[in-house]
């Protein structure tokens, strides 16, 4: 049965119509709202490609039922993190470091790092690696990603 669900995404109040209230947030963002920052990687919360912010915290949208998100919670995707004119410092650092190969995992890397840096402004290498330990990259861009996070934190 189709039902409307109110959400706050990237600073805007939006409604999505879904058949199943337990559909993961990822599909509402990608299919209903045409946002392509969050990516489908595993659907199991194992790889991090789908990461978004919910009230500033990094959340795996592929295993977060829509029913658990309220209209008062602020959902932010990669598209809402910065704008082309005013990039988020982490986005800018990733571009400046050329920290991507295929880039499929990068949404998760940026969203996870941005949430992490908000709570730890001057992290060590080991802290960055630990913060990203549950984000998978298959191309082997790890070194550049760590360098980009350090650059964003001003500790490079």
């Amino acid at each position: 049965m189709a039902q409307r669900k109110a959400l706050n995404v990237n600073g805007k109040a939006v409604n999505v119509t879904v058949d199943d209230p337990d559909m993961p947030l990822l599909y509402a963002l990608r299919d209903n709202l045409a946002l392509h920052g969050p990516r489908f990687g595993c659907g199991l919360g194992q790889c991090g490609a789908c990461t978004v912010h919910v009230d500033g915290k990094a959340v795996r949208s592929c295993v977060t039922p829509l029913s658990r998100i309220t209209a008062r919670q602020k959902v932010v995707t990669l598209e809402g993190l910065g704008t082309p004119q005013r990039l988020h410092p982490v986005q800018k650092a990733f571009i400046d470091t050329q920290a991507a190969q295929c880039g499929y995992c990068i949404n998760g890397m940026i969203m996870e790092s941005a949430a992490f840096l908000a709570s730890n402004r001057k992290p060590t290498d080991a802290e960055i690696k630990k913060a990203l330990a549950n984000n998978l990259c298959r191309c082997g861009t790890h070194g550049r990603i760590v360098a980009a996070v350090k650059r964003a934190a001003g500790v490079a």
């Binding site: 392509h36 990669l78 190969q101 995992c105 990203l132």
Partner: protein, 739 residues
């Protein structure tokens, strides 16, 4: 019809060129009417590869595609450099069977080496014709012309590429065996520079369209329901089991192919999870514990003798010391972070397929065969997916999408699940390798023999069968296509007696394909480990030992190793240098001349072995790398880092798990890969050869990593690891039994 003059005629005089230019408006008119087929895609015409529009914008058509490695930028650099136009004025169309030339699959580290050089030839040929035409129009000698940013000047006179050719066809022939003279590398301003990648800003902002993001109007969402056992047959389907799924459009069954189509992606996922089907039992896989016994027992179809020097049989009996070792290398999955995806649409008897296929011209033939259609009625268009590192599931997903789209009469997008990808992408086959050598009393190698047990290549087509065609019993060639996995079974060392043989096996347990550095990785692994075993037996420094046997005329190989010694601050050593304590440290070396014909790589790996836990940590990697002329050094470094890290993962961690029916490592928990806390420091020295041809870099640096790690573990512990992956359990068992 006008006859297209040969390039030689072109160069003889401008007359022919004017003819073709003057005829060009006819072609332009034809294209404006929608007759896109007018654009040639043959390898022998400039128009196949590039066009320049009335604004001077250059459009490049490449059959080789960017699989996430950055070549979309590097290919633009090559063309922009050769034409003397700004990089920003070059656009790139990739992998469209209707628009781009068939330059072969995007594989084998050939995109720059072959594809890029074909583009360079097209651009140099176009530039030559443009200069000829400019000289004529401006009434000056060619030597007096200067070109910058697509503007041709001579003193106060000026014209532009846009004025010279804008929107018209070049109608120039190409002969890639006799390419046009390219620019002198001393004049390069774009090639050789660390130009930022064109795709990265969009990828960092969520604005890039991957295949997984692509949508067409009226599109439905499909999911496949694969059998629970590889060879199971579908006995029955209970369509009532998915009746309550909102938005379900159709259950599609054809032979053993089962799929669901729904209005929403989530509806398709739910239906695929919920559907009840009965499958036959099938247990045709070997026992995992006995995998390499199975490989050894598999029927040999033929032997490929890849090198044969002197008489090893005789020499092996004469040495004073003989060594023999057997190595094995596990089955690996591609493990793309984004599972395979495709969109297909049948319209007016024609099929359009969008996918991340690395070979759209080949996929086109496969889909045409599968559906019994003329190949002209199939168009395959590439859209970048997640990094694939070889032939993963994208082509299969393209077949799935086409099958479902045909069944429902609407465009369908198929997104594979994580389990689909881990379970059903084609695999890197298991590899078993026996090596033997003899040494004389002075520690010189007198004979080298090796045997590689690898699946056969059944046809020259290198087309991996499409799983949906197999399941649905639709027509296709039943090839076994693991790729050119015999490469690097022969060795770069000049021993007096050498025999290297590949036993091509009738079959291999899983549908094989190529995964980064196919065969070259496994073969180099065994060769370079065994070389280390010989050096240790001879009491020699492992780098000095290799240098002793390299061809003294092969200066670039020698330079790679000499510079590696300086980079890694290598001190002459004999392995093992077993240290005490819980953490044993060591360093190992490896070397490859890729396919014995191109890119040279040397590597030193520093490792720490935790004796109580058996865990290996690679702490540092030093690498020297000569792939000839470097197009983009930053992109090259990025690629090399990736090869190193991915191969550390494959060496230490990765192993496909299976029972008698099916793959059981269907997610990242059961098929883990390297994560951030375990990455080493990487130090790479690029050796640029501006005046040499550019060679491949997508694979060679991966070839040397497993052996360097194995050799370093021996240096640290005195224990030889010969079975990949080097899991803690295997390391502990080896330490208990060895040294």
């Amino acid at each position: 019809m006008h006859t297209i003059p040969s390039r030689r005629d072109m160069l003889k005089g401008g007359g022919a060129l004017v003819v073709s230019f003057s005829l060009a408006p006819q072609l332009r008119a034809a294209r404006a009417q929608g007759a896109l087929a007018a654009k040639p895609v043959v390898l022998t015409e400039v128009d196949s590869f590039l066009s320049i529009d009335a604004k001077g914008l250059v459009k490049v058509y490449s059959g080789k595609v960017d699989l996430g490695t950055g070549v979309a930028t590097a290919l633009r650099q090559i063309v922009a450099e050769e034409l003397d136009v700004p990089l920003a004025s070059v656009d790139l169309v990739q992998g469209d069977s209707m628009l781009t030339p068939d330059q072969g699959k995007t594989w084998g580290s050939l995109t720059i080496q072959i594809g890029g050089m074909q583009l360079r030839n097209a651009a140099a040929t176009a530039k030559g014709a443009l200069i000829d035409e400019a000289a004529k129009r401006l009434g000056v000698e060619k030597a007096a012309l200067r070109v910058s940013d697509g503007v041709v000047t001579a003193g106060g006179k000026r014209t532009t590429y846009a004025e010279l050719i804008g929107g018209k066809s070049f109608a120039l022939k190409l002969d890639h065996s006799k390419p046009a003279q390219p620019k002198d590398p001393r004049d390069h301003r774009i090639v050789g520079k660390p130009v930022p990648r064109v795709d990265i800003p969009d990828k960092m902002m969520g604005r890039f369209t991957y295949i997984q993001d692509f949508r067409v109007p009226g599109m439905l969402h499909g999911r496949v329901v694969r059998p629970p056992a590889l060879g199971a047959t579908l006995e029955s389907v209970d369509e009532g089991s998915v009746k309550n799924v909102a938005g379900l459009v159709q259950v599609v069954r054809e032979g053993n192919f089962l799929g669901v189509v729904a209005r929403s992606e989530w509806g398709a996922i739910k239906a695929a999870e919920q559907i009840k089907a009965t499958w036959s039992k099938w247990e045709g896989l070997p026992e995992q514990e006995k995998l390499f016994g199975h490989v050894r027992a598999t029927k040999v179809e033929k032997d490929d003798i890849t090198s044969n020097v002197g008489n090893t049989a005789e020499a092996m009996t004469q040495g004073t010391r003989k060594l023999a070792a057997t190595y094995d290398f596990a089955i690996h999955t591609h493990g793309s972070i984004g599972p395979s995806c495709a969109v297909a649409e049948f319209k007016d008897g024609k099929l359009t397929s969008w996918s991340a296929s690395q070979a759209t011209h080949d996929l086109r033939k496969q889909l045409a065969e599968m559906f019994g259609m003329p190949v002209e009625n199939v168009r395959c268009i590439y859209l970048e997916g997640s990094g694939c590192y070889g032939r993963n599931g994208h082509e299969d997903a393209a077949g799935d999408a086409a099958l479902l789209a045909k069944a429902v009469g609407r465009p369908v997008r198929v997104q594979w699940s994580r389990a689909d990808e881990h379970g059903w992408d084609p695999k890197g086959p298991p590899t078993l390798m026996d090596l033997r050598a003899s040494l004389d009393a002075a520690g010189n190698v007198t004979a080298w023999e090796s045997e590689f047990y690898i699946p056969q290549q059944t046809a020259g087509s290198f087309m991996v069968p499409l799983t949906p065609a197999t399941l649905a019993n639709l027509p296709q060639k039943g090839d076994i296509a693991p790729g050119n996995i015999f490469q690097n079974s022969a060795i770069p060392y000049k021993f007096a007696n050498i025999k290297t043989v590949c036993h091509r096996l009738e079959s291999t347990p899983f549908r094989p394909s190529w995964i980064r550095t196919p065969g070259r990785m496994q073969n180099t692994y065994a060769n370079e480990c065994f070389m280390d075993e010989l050096a240790a037996a001879a009491g020699a420094d492992p780098i000095e030992f290799r240098l002793r046997y390299l061809d003294p005329n092969d200066r670039r190989g020698i330079e790679v190793l000499e510079r590696l010694m300086a980079l890694a601050k290598w001190e002459t050593r004999r392995s093992p240098q077993v240290g005490g304590g819980n953490i044993a440290s060591g360093r190992g070396v490896s070397y490859v001349k890729y396919e014995l014909a191109r890119t040279y790589v040397g590597v030193v790996a520093d490792v720490e072995v935790d004796r109580p836990t058996g865990k290996i940590r690679v702490s540092r990697i030093f690498m020297t790398h000569d792939c000839g002329q470097i197009i983009n050094p930053d992109g090259l470094r990025n690629q090399i880092d990736g090869n190193i890290l991915q191969t550390i993962s494959r060496t230490l961690i990765e192993e496909l798990k299976f029972d008698r029916s099916m793959v059981t490592s269907l997610d990242w928990a059961s098929y883990p890969i390297l994560t951030f806390p375990d990455i080493p420091e990487i130090v790479v020295e690029l050796i640029n050869q501006p005046n040499a041809p550019p060679w491949g870099a997508g694979e060679p640096s991966a070839a040397v990593v497993p052996s360097a790690i194995s050799n370093a573990v021996f240096d640290a512990t005195g224990v030889r690891l010969r079975s990949i992956p080097y899991t803690p359990d295997k390391v502990k068992a080896a330490m208990r039994g060895g040294a």
